[in-house]
């Protein structure tokens, strides 16, 4: 992959309206037991407008912008050999049902690891009014196709 892609920006994506039932569905999928993610009454009693997203929920919004990069013909990502290397969420403020969020992904680093390439992306998740919500850093490893593969 060309290192000239470093610094390329993808997005912002169209606003994603975070639904109460989506947060609850996601919370159940990650076996969350926190009532604040499941019960609007508990969330409101704790001072939130509605249910609060689990810590990794921002991936739903971030991956929309990451996909613009991963499917960019200029990047030429080989999906058959793509592995998710790492993920990190840095939260400016919690995501709550009712938020309308956009994501913008920047290719922050590309480096060769011999037969593989590591790509790092930084995705900023912000509200429609451009207030920062979450920074999502991801890395992906693409193995070079092996000539001896069956």
């Amino acid at each position: 992959m060309q290192s000239s892609l470093v610094g390329k920006v993808y997005g912002p994506t169209e606003p994603y309206l975070v639904g109460r039932e989506k947060i609850r569905e996601f919370a159940r999928a990650v076996l969350a037991q926190a009532p604040l993610s499941l019960d609007p009454v508990a969330a409101q009693a704790a001072g939130y407008a509605d249910v609060v997203a689990p810590p990794t929920f921002a991936v739903l919004i971030a991956q929309r912008a990451e996909a613009l990069f991963l499917f960019d013909p200029e990047a030429g990502v080989d999906f058959a050999h793509l592995v998710h290397g790492s993920e990190r969420f840095s939260q400016e403020r919690p995501i709550v049902a009712g938020d309308s969020l956009r994501a913008t992904t920047t290719v922050s680093r590309i480096r060769s690891l011999g037969r593989a390439t590591m790509i790092e992306t930084t995705t900023e998740v912000v509200t429609e009014h451009a207030e920062p919500v979450s920074t999502v850093r991801a890395s992906f490893v693409i193995e070079e196709a092996r000539s001896d593969a069956a």
């Binding site: 999928a29 990650v30 969350a32 037991q33 926190a34 990190r88 939260q91």
Partner: protein, 141 residues
């Protein structure tokens, strides 16, 4: 809260767990729908094998997502909004057997405390081997 767990006092070095987490193929179908990650290596054995994998794998993000639950319950008082930072490396795949599923063990450990934050590490293992590296979180007190 997990009623079966007596939550330890939050002091440096304190640990919660190991907490068992059971994943099944259904867990992955559910996570695929909830997250929008429909990569077939997480539900089709033929696609997983063609990619050179031993079988269908749990989404790394599913492992990351389930591992932080006990941390939210213990260190963030059940408030996911207090988890300021959470990062992991995916170091080893979790192969989910169609009949037996996969059993993870999660240990949460307090690595530091200051006036405003709690720092913690997560140890997540499958078949006795670690599957996440450098799994760390920062929680607002």
């Amino acid at each position: 809260m997990r009623p079966e767990q007596q939550l330890p006092e939050i002091v440096e070095g304190a640990a919660l767990g190991p907490i068992p987490v059971h994943l099944t193929r259904e867990s992955m179908v559910r996570y695929a729908g909830a997250s929008g990650d429909f990569n077939p290596i997480h539900y089709r054995d033929d696609v997983a094998r063609a990619a050179g994998l031993p079988g269908v794998l749990a989404h790394g993000m599913l492992t990351m997502g389930v591992a932080v639950g006990p941390l939210v319950d213990w260190l963030a008082g059940g408030d996911p909004g207090r988890v300021l930072d959470y990062g992991v490396r995916f170091t080893r795949p979790v192969v989910v057997d169609p009949e037996l599923g996969a059993d993870l063990q999660v240990v949460v450990r307090v690595t530091g405390l200051d006036a405003d934050t709690i720092r913690a590490s997560l140890e997540v293992s499958f078949d006795g081997r670690s599957v996440l590296g450098a799994a760390k979180a920062v929680v607002r007190r």
